[in-house]
């Protein structure tokens, strides 16, 4: 169960593959459910050219570990990995990666979605968008 906060761009498929390679779970997992959130170049009708992701270092990790513990209590999860980007981000760069390994698909799907929804609801990240017009705006909760 690993939580990573990245200040530089990350390659989600490299992260997952490397993490999986060191798991020593060969033959034990039948299901992997993955979600990747990527920066778009548009939001709420406006062109966006960059974004800054602020976070509350320390609380972020504490909240994500708590969310994972709750998911582990609800579903039979073998492993999970959460990676979240902070700092200055450009369109098409990954923002978040959630990956869950389990024996059966229902648990992997449910736990991955739960982790992602809880992360969005509770992890202390804030997005500041820079529009094509050079205006900046804080993304507000949808």
């Amino acid at each position: 169960m690993t939580v990573k906060i990245c200040e530089m761009a990350f390659e989600p498929f490299v992260e997952i593959q490397n993490f999986q390679n060191q798991l020593a779970l060969e033959g034990k997992f039948g299901a992997t459910s993955i979600f990747i959130g990527t920066m778009r170049d548009f939001n709420e009708g406006d062109d966006v050219k960059a974004m800054t992701l602020e976070h509350y270092d320390g609380m972020t990790q504490k909240q994500l570990i708590k969310i994972i513990a709750t998911a582990k209590a609800k579903w039979q999860i073998l492993e999970c990995l959460i990676v979240h980007r902070v700092g200055d981000i450009l369109p098409n760069e990954p923002i978040v990666l959630v990956s869950v390994w389990s024996a059966h698909r229902g648990e992997a799907f449910d736990a991955c979605r739960y982790l992602m929804e809880e992360l969005k609801a509770n992890a202390p990240f804030w997005k500041l968008e820079k529009l094509a017009t050079n205006e900046t705006r804080w993304v507000s909760k949808i």
């Binding site: 804030w126 804080w138 909760k141």
Partner: protein, 76 residues
């Protein structure tokens, strides 16, 4: 002494990201805000945390705590 931290749009509004405050008895979160920001009501949608866990505004803050105020989160 307690540490106050502000994030995102609230940090910008206040013009500072952290500060210290001496308290000589426990105060609620709301009372801490009023001591630190006497000219500004705590914005309605502000989230509050003590020692990196979410708490309600009625939570009692003790000496040594880290108290954070921030707008709704928008990660993911």
């Amino acid at each position: 002494m307690i540490t106050l931290r502000y994030f995102a749009s609230l940090r910008e509004t206040l013009g500072r990201s952290s500060e210290s405050l001496d308290i000589f008895e426990p105060h609620t979160i709301l009372s801490i805000w009023q001591l630190a920001n006497p000219d500004l009501a705590l914005p309605e949608n502000t989230l509050t945390a003590v020692n990196m866990d979410y708490v309600p505004r009625t939570h009692l803050v003790h000496d040594g705590d880290e108290v954070a105020f921030f707008p709704p989160v928008t990660g993911g």
